[in-house]
């Protein structure tokens, strides 16, 4: 665990309003949350609950309508698009559901891409350590198309780790994987939290995936409705089911 008391990510009063067919839609209706360093948080919720919007806003991929986002000591709302990009490539890692990698580049080049775009010299020892950790030492010269889905996700995790970010955001990282491969990827994520004190925030709709996390946040209608420390897959599923039923009833 980190010695810092400051959270890795903090959002306050976060709202995000879209306009669809002239009607305002509140994807986030005032969310306050902080994610401590060295923790693994899963964000869950039914479709349209705002979980992806929360992730995008917290990761600086999208700008909130109101409220503020802090990555460490930096507030994002005042940053220009270029400053925001620079912050993302240095202090935030990403793992998406699929299409994480640039097909034109080899595994190694994909891993080094953020560093290269930043014009930074890669820390060779660290990269070797990361590559060994995700178990891709033999595949560095391959193209992503030659890898399995699970291997591709591991490359994405290696890329996210390469710049030693403050936080890694994952958007359904196992959504396109079978159960065994998904378990492999989740174990890897769990391990980087435990072994390297990495902070991970993951959006998922799979209670099993969420059970790897230290903490599970459940969103509904743009608000946090549950915030549970290590609840276990069964309890998560139960909560989600209740949520689904109550929503069905209110309609």
């Amino acid at each position: 665990m980190s010695v810092h008391t400051e959270p890795a990510v903090r959002v306050t009063g976060l709202t995000r309003t879209y306009h669809a067919d002239g009607e305002p839609v509140h994807a986030l209706a005032g969310v306050d949350a902080s994610f401590q360093r060295g923790t693994f948080t899963a964000i869950m919720g039914p479709s349209g609950s705002g979980k992806s919007t929360l992730l995008q806003a917290a990761a600086g991929l999208d700008r909130p309508t109101d409220g503020s986002v802090w990555i460490g000591g930096t507030e994002l709302s005042r940053l220009s698009e270029t400053k925001l990009t620079e912050l993302r490539r240095g202090r935030i890692g990403f793992v998406f559901q699929a299409f994480n990698l640039i097909g034109a580049l080899t595994v190694e080049e994909n891993i080094l891409l953020p560093l290269r775009l930043a014009g930074a010299r890669p820390d060779r020892a660290w990269i070797t350590q990361v590559v060994d950790r995700v178990g891709l030492g033999q595949r560095l010269r391959h193209r992503p198309s030659a890898l399995s889905g699970g291997q591709q996700q591991r490359v994405a995790i290696a890329r996210a780790l390469a710049s030693r970010p403050e936080v890694i955001f994952c958007d359904e990282p196992t959504g396109a994987l079978d159960t065994n491969t998904a378990a492999e990827v989740l174990t890897l994520l769990r391990a980087i939290v435990d072994e390297h004190g990495q902070t991970v925030v993951m959006v998922t709709h799979d209670p099993v995936a969420a059970s790897y996390a230290d903490r599970v946040m459940v969103l509904a209608d743009g608000r946090i409705v549950h915030d549970m420390p290590q609840p276990g897959a069964d309890r998560i599923a139960e909560h989600l089911a209740t949520l689904g039923r109550s929503r069905a009833v209110t309609r």
Partner: protein, 854 residues
Amino acid sequence: MISLATRMLRHRPGSSVATLLALALGALILTAMGVLVESGLRYHPAPVRYAAADLVVARPDTTFTSREFDGEIYRSTVALPEGGTVPAGLAGRIRGIEGVATVAVDENIAVHTGAGTPLSGRGWASAVLTPYELVDGRAPANDDDVVLSTDPVPGGLDSGVAPGGAASGGVSTGEAGRARVGEQVRLVVGGVLRTYRISGLARGNGNAAAVFFSDAHAAALAPHRGAVSAVGVIAAPGTDLGRLADQVGQVAGDTAVLRRADSGLAERSADGAAAGLLIQVGASFGGYVILLIVFVVAATIGLSVRHRRRDLALVRAVAATPGQVRRMIMAESALVSVFASAIGVPAGLAAAGWLTGELTSRGFVPEGFPMAPGVIAAAGATGVILVSAVLAGLLAARRISGIKPAEALGEAAIEPVSAGRVRWISGLVALTAAGSSAFAAVAAGGQTALGAALGMLYLFVLAVALLAPWINAAAARLLAPLLRAAFGTSGYLAAANLRANARGAASVLTSLVLAVGFGGSVWFLQNNLERQAVAQSRSGLIATRALVTGAGLSDSVVAEVRAVPGVRAATPVRNTSVVASVMGDGEVIGARAVDPAGIDATLDLGVTSGSLADLRDGTAAVSRTQASTFGWDLGEKVALRLGDGTPADVRVVAIYEHGLGFGDVVLPRSAVIGHTATNLDDQILISAPASADVALREIAAAHPGAALVDTGTVTGGLAKDLALSAWLNRLLIAVMVGYTVVAAANTMVMAALARRRELAVLRLTGVTRRQVKRMINAEQAGLLGVAVLLGGTIAALTLSSVVRALTGNLVPYVPPLGVATVLGGTAVLALATTILPIARLLRVPPVEHIGVRE
């Protein structure tokens, strides 16, 4: 960034094939045009006529000076269309300078053989400048003597021994056309048939067969009074030529003193004229094509950016700033342009070789004109292609800011719902600009008219390109019921696609509109110019007969014609040019000099204001287009220079309509006497009853080379001349139209192939292959309808406003076959370039495409 761009390109070369093709074709055209310009610019006439002269004093060009806004002096130099002159008295003053061995004046005297072959007529004193040396006989001593050069004369010489010789073609002197000393020869000199005695034969290395007269006779025959074409100086051995040139320069005043290397500039030659033509043609068309390339390539790069949205969003999300992605796109375009140049430039050099052959065989360029190898042209074209590609990349990369990094997260890349306000406003601005330019004054002349038309066309197409999303959306809404009725379910899907993908289809629509707009306007512009010129000439000629000749007609002929009983009026006409300054640049304007007496009975210029009756020395009539281009008003005093550079401030006394048929400036004949190269008339328009024909024909017979023709023939001749110069315009316009067609095909194939995933989804949801095809047909029919409507409107607006400015006709002439070609061609293009690639996609089972990354 460049290495990343290289990797991206190597991984997916397909996305850049369209750009590569467009750029390679552009490189081909630009290289070919560049070779023309380079050859023209590098042309430096070698001294022939003055090869033996150390210095030549002449006035080959005229310079306009003006002050620019920033106070800088701006100079524009134009070659004098009739050749400049220097004062005859100059020779005497030069003779007194120390170090001068020989001074000789040179005259260009128009001489033709009885068979009509032009000869170079000179005074014997100038023979040393070439040099010509006597090989037989002696120098001409009196007015009847001539020395002939030993060069063979095409058509032979007319000895005048055989009676009635001229009409029957004449008898060649001696064996194989060789003249002998002591024989007689008949020559048309100064428009008059004369008999001379061959006093000697001379050998020299001139441009053409030459005839030398005695100096006194030459001075009498010379076209200029008190002035000569050039003064040649041969220095005494050991003289410092630089110093001598300075000293001659001091007495020579504002005329040019040319050293040996430059003395070719003082010679009027077909090569010099060809060099000017090559520069003009190459530069203007090259310029139009550059704009076209930027337009087309911006569209193809834009499309490839759109198709790789997902990749780019990912790069943006993980690390790249918008600036970095923009630079990556530009680096990619630059790389593609290098490959394109590697393909296009050699092809362009080959094309230039072919073009040179065609230009030579059609008489635009003399045989043996030194064409440049094209090294500079190749480098230039490569550079221009590179810059155009980067510029187009920059335009396309502006869209990058519209790509949200969050798009990398979502399941599908959804088009942003609405296009930007900026685009909407820019589109309206472009439309307004295009609309108002249609009403602006348009310059005269084939080349400039084409430029104006293209400018307007580009603005219209730009407006369509910018407004395309809204046009497509509106069209989809309007066409939906129609498509549904015609194509059923497929039509319903097609309308939905058109509506949903309004932005994606923008580049397809734009390229179709560009092809229709181009094909429908500039191509027909030439038809209109030709027809109008012939029509103006026909309706403007009141005279029934014309005496025409290539050898020139002297003053006495007009008097002879006027003396024929029944002749109501005879108007001698001289074709010449004047030079005027427009915005500080000297420009050569085609002009006619006429005798205003009795002109009402021979010519109708379509005078709209003022009167030709006021035409006398110090006045001029100008065409309506010329007046509007130069901003000249009736009664205004305008500063012209005659064809030999003599300043002539004239008052505009009449403005007329028939500028295409008769030239843009009409001067009184008296004003140009002594100021044209030959000082002879080119034709005499005659208003006379048929009864006068016999007498008129007798006059024609007395002047070898002259013929009496019906004025209808004159018009026919004009049409033939126009058709010849039109060949070049047509060829180049065809190249441009062809380029837009290839670009459109390119864009559509690219757009079609990018739809594999979408089509796979449709087929998996149960849409049959036939229905997919019908859907595509319906979509293309919809797009085609909109494109033809817009392109047709644009073409009609452009064509009619240019034609109106040039001819005053609001309704342009459009050949029916041309319309059919444009419409049919576009339809075939739209269907073939979409349906064939789609059919290929449909042959593959849909599951194979469903996993394909976009």
